[in-house]
């Protein structure tokens, strides 16, 4: 279970998070929606400790994330439970595609023989809709959507318990989006993983989510089961779902 309590984060004078409260139950799929630049990616990074929250509490299964010292073995063990797809892919451009996907399997505590690691990588690539012949290419040789999917394959390669997806379907065609949505659903249902997904794509939200939370103005504006999203009674959520320019959310921010 992941809990955020009153999390604040500013960059210089700019307040991004102003008291985020959020709970993600184990084995559930939480989707975070919200306008561009509201701090969704920052929220994920606070949980992973990549960004330090100014104040507030972030716990994973009761363990205080902010207490884990950078580079300590507890933190490594903590991070070993996570997989993360970055918004920009964040593939290592000095490594080939399969070495990216198998990064964790090639070193450290999960180290496997090279052949086996490669096979797993190719299998994961297949699951995100990529053929084995991309395995030996370099990230720079791939299209944006392909890079995204390689990033996704890397995030799930070591079968983590907790997976964060930052805009998994942005830049993909509708069919591929469908494939990815199904994959995420599968990972949660079959592997029992806890997932936290950021997306702008309402089709994705309905396909992936157990619960939905909307971030607005640095706080969680609304949260609840996906089935209640349409009848939330919250004008912000309603405007976001309908994508209307009319409503309480300012269109210039």
């Amino acid at each position: 279970m992941i809990e955020l309590r009153d999390v604040h984060k500013s960059f210089g004078p700019k307040q991004v998070l102003r008291g985020v409260d959020l709970t993600i139950e184990r084995g559930k799929s939480m989707v975070i929606i919200g306008g561009s630049g509201t701090g969704k990616s920052v929220t994920l990074k606070c949980v992973l400790g990549l960004i330090e929250a100014d104040t507030g509490l972030v716990t994973v299964d009761g363990q205080d994330v902010t207490r884990l010292r950078q580079g300590s073995s507890e933190r490594d063990a903590f991070l070993a439970r996570f997989g993360m797809l970055f918004q920009g892919g964040a593939l290592f451009d000095s490594l080939s595609v399969w070495q990216n996907v198998a990064f964790r399997l090639l070193r450290g505590s999960l180290k496997k023989p090279k052949e086996e690691a490669r096979e797993i990588a190719i299998e994961k690539l297949r699951r995100v809709g990529l053929t084995p012949d991309v395995a030996d290419l370099f990230p720079a040789e791939l299209s944006g959507g392909m890079q995204k999917r390689v990033g996704l394959a890397r995030a799930i390669a070591a079968e983590p318990e907790i997976i964060f997806f930052d805009e998994p379907t942005t830049g993909l065609d509708p069919i591929m989006s469908g494939v990815i949505n199904e994959l995420i659903r599968e990972i949660v249902v079959e592997m029992g993983a806890t997932a936290m997904t950021i997306t702008h794509d309402m089709t994705s939200v309905r396909a992936i989510a157990d619960d939905v939370a909307m971030l607005h103005g640095g706080k969680i504006r609304w949260t609840g089961p996906v089935a209640e999203m349409d009848a939330s009674g919250d004008p912000y959520v309603a405007q976001f779902i309908s994508g209307s320019a009319e409503g309480p959310i300012e269109t210039v921010r």
Partner: protein, 257 residues
């Protein structure tokens, strides 16, 4: 008052920067004693920093050695030129010019590429990705580069010294009409083993500084292409200045008896 405050701020900022660099250096070295290690990264860095720098090192030192020989000859050492030119070329190259020139070339070639690479990784979230994949960037990126540079720089300096002396030899024998055998004998007779040892020690220190600055500024890069550019520039400037300052201190330490 505001002037004093401004000066105070600059001084404090400078001291804080020194503290940060020192901490960074300390952390880097501490990873030498804490596994896991990444030998493949070290090997890769050795190749990049050492082997691929050889042409640059050779070209810089051969011309400098040659110019040095001409200059000493022109500068009034004509009477016993045949003895003085090889001696001063050897001493000048091995004690000062070899390590400094190679150090500065490494700052230009290696520090810049390390800083740009790491800064780009930082900007494109690859460093964050490393962390989420349970890999410490200090162990995976910084230590291999710093270690490789420290180990390989003495070799580069040795090569630079030899090629620099060869530059002097070529000029001496072909342009100034010295006897080849005498030139070599004078060079070898005059060089002390301690000269060579200090030369290589300087190399190791400069290699450490060059790679450390590349990693430090790369890791602290700001956002965007501008951040990468600024990180690279600062790294090269800092490495060059530190190398020259360290050279002065080491010369003081080794030779000012």
């Amino acid at each position: 008052m505001s002037l004093l405050a401004a000066i105070g701020r600059v001084v404090l900022g400078f001291l804080a920067a020194i503290g940060r660099v020192a901490l960074f250096a300390f952390e880097t070295v501490s990873h030498l004693f804490r596994p896991p290690y990444y030998p493949r990264e070290v090997a890769h860095a050795l190749l990049q920093i050492g082997y691929f720098s050889l042409p640059v090192v050779g070209l810089t030192t051969i011309f400098t050695g040659g110019a040095l020989a001409l200059q000493i000859y022109a500068g009034g050492a004509r009477f016993s030129a045949e003895a003085v030119v090889p001696q001063i070329v050897a001493i000048g190259m091995v004690r000062e010019l070899g390590p400094v020139l190679v150090g500065l070339m490494i700052a230009a070639r290696v520090t810049s590429s390390i800083a740009a690479e790491i800064a780009t990784m930082k900007v494109t979230e690859q460093i964050d990705a490393l962390v989420t994949l349970s890999t410490n960037p200090m162990k995976y990126l910084t230590l291999p580069r710093v270690l490789a540079a420290t180990l390989v720089m003495p070799v580069l300096v040795a090569v630079g010294n030899i090629i620099g002396i060869m530059g002097g030899y070529l000029v001496g024998v072909n342009r100034l009409g010295f006897n080849a055998g005498t030139y070599l004998r004078n060079t070898i007779d005059f060089l002390e083993p301690s000269d060579i040892a200090t030369s290589l020690a300087k190399g190791a220190v400069f290699g450490f500084l060059a790679a450390l600055m590349g990693c430090y500024f790369g890791m602290r890069s700001g956002r965007g292409a501008q951040g990468v550019g600024r990180a690279t520039k600062s790294a090269v400037v800092a490495a060059s200045v530190l190398i020259l300052a360290a050279n002065f201190l080491l010369t003081e330490l080794f030779f000012a008896a």
